[in-house]
């Protein structure tokens, strides 16, 4: 979203539509009592990085956070509002943005292959997200870091499955609709 030149339509639309997809994925949710739910939105975050790349993927995630901030129930289980940014899951939300960047950087480096996608999903979509999420959760709740990290292991099986799913899906999308991965210039042919 740069000032001048103005953003290209295709770019902007993909960011917005992908953000909408992440919101829709929020309808799949397993609430956990600790205040940090298991949510299919992390699958959406991984896909955003894999399909849109670092910059646009991160912007799509930021957009979801902006919607939450202005009071829309866009997060898992219809939550939203400013509360999520001061609650136990705030760090994970930040981690989503950083994660999308890392995923994009890894997966879009060179030819798109399943192992790059998988590596990106695990490193960016799990490692980086936890790196932000766990310390902030410990900070907010006042529970020491070690037990917080330990309790977060509950997410790991699900997140590994989601990383696998994101990889399979991104590779399949690459076959089914290769245009989705193309840069904007190829999508809208513009005058100089």
């Amino acid at each position: 979203m740069s000032a001048s030149p103005r953003p290209l339509g295709a770019d902007l639309a993909r960011i917005a539509v992908f953000a909408a997809l992440i919101v829709v994925l929020g309808m799949v949710v397993v609430p956990l009592p600790g205040g940090v739910p298991i949510t299919a939105q992390t699958l959406g975050v991984m896909l955003a990085g894999l399909v849109l790349g670092a910059r646009r993927g991160a912007l799509a995630v930021l957009l979801v956070l902006a919607l939450a901030a202005i009071g829309l129930p866009v997060l898992a289980g219809g939550r939203g509002g400013l509360g999520v940014f001061v609650g136990p899951s705030a760090g994970y939300l930040l981690g989503w943005v950083a994660g999308a960047v890392v995923i994009g950087l890894i997966a879009h480096r060179g030819r798109f292959t399943w192992w790059r996608a998988g590596l990106g999903a695990v490193v960016g979509g799990i490692l980086v997200v936890y790196l932000f999420g766990i310390p902030v959760q410990a900070l907010v709740t006042g529970v020491p870091l070690a037990p917080t990290a330990l309790s977060s292991l509950a997410f790991l099986p699900g997140d590994l499955l989601k990383a696998a799913a994101a990889t399979v899906l991104a590779v399949a999308l690459h076959r089914a609709y290769p245009r989705a991965f193309e840069s904007r210039a190829a999508v809208v042919v513009h005058a100089a």
Binding site: A172, L173, R175, A176, Y177, P178, R179
Partner: protein, 231 residues
């Protein structure tokens, strides 16, 4: 066991109603479809799609009694889905696999592996898609995509085919091809359509209006009634 199917009643609706958000979408629908090919017509929002979706359990009646091929959709959903094929307007949503061959394979899961590849080749050829089995499905033209969607449904040999405006996005030639294909089926057909020319070629027609059946009978007469109601 299935007296209705035996006596040739494909669909029997008695006082069927459907509600959504407390608002009635279908009210007191009572029809018996006995003809081989039935056209369903009516304006936007009149309830045609809702009616079509009742027929394979995508939607359940909130009141009344419904039997499709003698089965109760609410209790025998699985058996019903096996015997009823559904074709949607938008082929994009119903092509579930990246390539045509894989999409057909999904429908042919019951067929032994060795046979499957051959069957797929044969079907692709039959539907004018020879040699396109391995290309991305998104690279097919609109008409080809709808033909593939159709093929993936018909290859399972359903006893009843329900099609919800399958020719809307097609040109003259493709619309005719898909229309001919559907009307030429041996199985029963319920065809929701805005194409009155196609509706006229069915054996029976039902006209919906505001969630009610306004008329049923000879397609030519029902179509005239529809036209009159729009004027």
């Amino acid at each position: 066991m299935r007296p209705e199917a035996a006596t040739g009643v494909g669909v029997a609706c008695e006082g069927v109603g459907v509600e959504a958000d407390g608002r009635p979408i279908l009210s007191n629908v009572t029809v018996r479809l006995t003809a081989r090919r039935t056209a369903v017509i009516g304006g936007n929002g009149s309830g045609k799609s809702t009616f079509a979706r009742l027929l394979n359990g995508l939607r359940m009646p909130t009141s009344g009694r419904l039997r499709v091929l003698g089965l109760d959709p609410a209790r025998e959903t699985k058996a019903l889905r096996r015997r009823v094929g559904f074709v949607f307007t938008n082929p994009e949503a119903q092509i579930l696999m990246p390539t045509p061959a894989e999409d057909l394979a999904l429908s042919l899961q019951g067929v032994p592996r060795a046979e499957r590849a051959e069957r797929i080749e044969a079907v692709l050829t039959e539907y004018g898609l020879a040699g396109r089995g391995e290309v991305p499905a998104s690279g097919l033209s609109g008409g080809q995509r709808q033909l593939l969607a159709l093929a993936s449904v018909l290859v399972t040999e359903p006893e009843l085919v329900v099609a919800d405006e399958p020719t809307t996005l097609l040109d003259l030639r493709n619309a005719r091809r898909v229309g001919d294909l559907l009307l030429g089926l041996e199985s029963r057909l319920v065809l929701v359509t805005h194409d009155l020319g196609l509706a006229a070629r069915c054996d029976d027609a039902v006209l919906f209006e505001d969630g009610r059946v306004r008329a049923q009978g000879d397609p030519a007469e029902v179509i005239d009634e529809y036209r009159a109601s729009c004027a």
